[in-house]
Symmetry: C2
Subunit: 217 residues, 2 copies
Amino acid sequence: MAYRASATRIDRDLELRGRILARAHARVVEGGFAALTMQALAEDVGIATGSLYRHFAGKGELAAEVFAQASQVEVDSLADVLRGPGPVASRLAAGLRQFAARAWHSRQLAFALIAEPVDPQVDEQRLRYREAYAELFCRLLEEGQARGEFEVPSVPLAAACLVGAIAESLVGPLSPAARAERVSGLAPDGLQAVSDSLVTFCLRALGASQPVQEDQP
Amino acid sequence: MAYRASATRIDRDLELRGRILARAHARVVEGGFAALTMQALAEDVGIATGSLYRHFAGKGELAAEVFAQASQVEVDSLADVLRGPGPVASRLAAGLRQFAARAWHSRQLAFALIAEPVDPQVDEQRLRYREAYAELFCRLLEEGQARGEFEVPSVPLAAACLVGAIAESLVGPLSPAARAERVSGLAPDGLQAVSDSLVTFCLRALGASQPVQEDQP
């Protein structure tokens, strides 16, 4: 009996933890990490702020977990495309376009993940996930080098450059200032232009030998 | 008399503030932002912790000011090289090499500025200074486009990509893990290899038409 009661309690705890994270994620999607306060979140979930602190030691820990879950989704989506069939350069181009499009269609979240000033715990996750992206690109570049599609002096260095170029090229277009401009009708570069520039920059940088065949319209 | 007394007091305050910032900078050079605690700093300067708080509201504000001063030095050094004489591509290559060398020779500080997880106030300054770097590169790329040395679809996008590629390519080699490896003799890529890769990556990405003439040895 004692065992069953405690199992039920663990289930309840996990279920509540899941609900907290889902609501926290929704808050970040809506308003970035700035909108993620312990008090507002407790109200969303319908629990006391004190109960929230039993699950997460503070905003930093909670934000880091929201960050990690959301980033893992992006890493997995990118990995799916990069590991697809076809020439390596085409897969890289498709991966870049998908990454940019996903960011574009969830700008507040993407800006929060890439660049929003936030607790150091999130910065630590950022370093970790940039490593994860670099790892994906390392494997792709090795394949591209082996097939003679790319020619770079150092695969790890080029992979790091890709990670930085991708993140930074999106920070500006996704930033709150750019969003405000779009709302007010000033309309800076659209997704297509951003993606085209990014793909050109990255493929050239890798010494891609051929113009890339892309399936995109 | 009242005026003179208050002028003297302002001078004293400025002098102390300058000393605090110099000691704070020294701490970050030695051990990153992690080594910058209000208590240790107050001891360094020889004042009470309470006096320190009269000059800086907290560690975040202090760290942000140390960051801004150190970053401005880097931006100015880079600007000097980029605005020099000669072909645009050669100036860019020289600027990248100087930036990498400065970072390499002050790794703890460079890692702290680029990537160390730290207070959100520093993250805000990071965004601001990445804008400053992007601005420098925008002007250089426009010049390169006008002279037919570069050919990029979008100057602001390419400038952002450069900023990201440069920062990210250095994060790994400058990281505490890489420093530990060097100390233990595992010796990853040296400065020359990092610089060569970075220059190749960036110049190709910009569609630089010619092999670049560099004065570097």
